[in-house]
Subunit: 336 residues, 2 copies
């Protein structure tokens, strides 16, 4: 919400604590300067192009960090560290253990960025970072227990318990996209069948839509807008569904049904105060939210007992940068 104020903020850099956050995705690398209200006041984006390999991407991340750092230095602001969100997991030394979408395994990202920027670089899962952002400033502000779901090309998760990020025994908790919730017509990249990610991600929506198109004797405006089945994407399917396109509606309705199944599983397991939906799929907004809430209500175990509010992300695209900027403070003091 406060993101609306971008551009008309009149505070100077000197007045408050500034942070740098970097959000590394399979499509783009976004970096920004974040102020103490959680507003992104400078932003730089580059394409990731994972096929280039680890070293070139690290150079680009370092370039973004150094550019933002110079901007701060010019304004008399010194910083010591930077937070980096990745679509994978890293250990306490900042070494990337797994990052499937980027094809990284055992990459010394934290150390490399320190060499290239002079800043301590703290690496964390991007959905965990998004949960930190929502908990600090957004849709789960102040919640003792809240769950973040990032619905993008995959499905990520971040869990806040006792007001703190729950990272688990090996730091790989909150992989909610890999919760099996049913039987699906194709297997997940993780090798299992029925993962939430294969039902509730953008890619899942596209795959099921294409399957429907192949089997059904029915026109679809999403298909016409895309100009071919291989060009259709989640955004077009949602738009067509909102206008009543039947095949698109069927696909969105299935996504919503399984998303609700996952949400009810989360409620039955953790009974959180709030569940926040972020990521590209959540841009479908109230259309998806209302459908999903209704389905959740119908599947609740304890009807009549208050249950988690289901909300949209307060940040949209910016959750990654804002969350990443909070990682260093979190890593320095995970108990706070």
């Amino acid at each position: 919400m406060f993101l609306k104020y971008n551009g008309i903020k009149i505070k100077t850099f000197m007045e408050e604590k500034m942070r740098i956050g970097i959000d590394v995705g399979a499509t783009g690398i976004a970096g920004g300067i974040v102020d103490s209200d959680g507003c992104v006041i400078r932003e730089i984006m580059l394409s990731t192009r994972p096929e280039r390999g680890y070293e070139k991407i690290v150079m680009d991340i370092a370039y973004i960090i150094n550019t933002l750092k110079s901007r701060l230095t010019e304004n008399g602001v010194k910083i010591k560290n930077v937070g980096v969100g990745i679509p994978g997991v890293a250990d306490e030394n900042g070494d990337v253990i797994y990052c499937v979408n980027l094809g990284w395994k055992g990459a010394p990202l934290g150390r490399d960025l320190k060499k290239l920027t002079g800043l301590e670089a703290y690496i964390e899962n991007d959905a965990n970072a998004a949960a930190l952002a929502e908990h600090a400033y957004g849709s789960m502000k102040g919640a003792d227990c809240g769950v973040m779901l990032t619905l993008g090309s995959g499905v990520g998760g971040g869990i806040i318990i006792g007001g703190r990020l729950h990272r688990g025994f090996s730091g790989v908790a909150a992989e909610i996209g890999h919760m099996a919730v049913g039987d699906n017509f194709y297997n997940c990249t993780c090798g299992r069948n029925g993962c939430l990610e294969t039902f509730a991600s953008a890619r899942a929506l596209e795959r099921y839509f294409i399957k429907l198109v192949e089997y059904a004797d029915e026109e679809s405006s999403a298909l016409q807008a895309a100009g071919g089945g291989d060009k259709v994407d989640a955004r077009l399917i949602f738009e067509a569904a909102k206008k009543g396109d039947l095949l698109s509606l069927m696909a969105v309705s299935r996504l919503s049904r399984y998303l609700a199944k996952g949400i009810v599983n989360i409620i039955n397991m953790l009974d959180p105060e709030v569940i926040v939906l972020g990521g590209g799929v959540s841009k479908a907004g109230n259309f998806l939210l209302d459908m999903t809430r209704e389905q959740v209500e119908s599947e609740l175990l304890y009807k009549g007992v208050r249950h988690a509010q289901i909300k949209l992300s307060a940040f949209g695209d910016k959750a990654g940068i804002v969350g990443a900027s909070l990682i260093p403070a979190y890593k320095a003091n995970p108990k706070e």
Copy 2:
């Protein structure tokens, strides 16, 4: 393990802090005096017979409490409170919100027991109580994050996070039996399809076994031992499976496969240090444990990263009583 010492313990009652715990199940009401090592040193059992209705059952619970209390008083030990585990959920006042298996809703159990026994009665979900027992003395002793699964006629759960019981926003967390994990041939009592309870409970095993018997052209020693499909129970199926009976093995293997699916979901979500299997089904012991562990290994998301140990309950039948005895201390100070 220390339960072996029952009967040869030589400490007197006066020497240590004694507690009373009551475990109310759909079959029996078990009450016991528990010492500070988590040993049950006196035990009383009565049949529940839920069809008798709430009031008669409360009288029986009170009778057990008063008998145990007298036993302590005779030995110069005074107690002020008692813990009661129920297969349902209660609010902070000890009012039972839901208890499906006993047919209770809105029953003022805590207040009624106080009237009948003079003791403060603290009511908690039985699987949560079992988790307290395992965390204090048993298979998840000292774990920062551990999950208890009670595999009985249903499937219950208890979650320890940050060394404390995770009860959730409305106190209804850890209903792990109602995590949907696949598509099943019958619906759960909660109305959903695919709940873990419909795959991994004793009743689920029996139902699937009977379905197999009806369809397959195959003898089964479990069926012969029972003397009819309507008399077969989980224990007989496990025994026959251990001896190589094919239909029994198929049924047990399916239970184990879905149990593993649920366990991997828990690992992907919470990344706990330990997962403990208790309840009647866990009496199948290493036979079930080994099968399940192997399946879990094959479905892990992050292979090579250390993951939760899967263990059997240290208490077996006694987890309910021992856990219940710990409820008053937990309720008085949930932060410890």
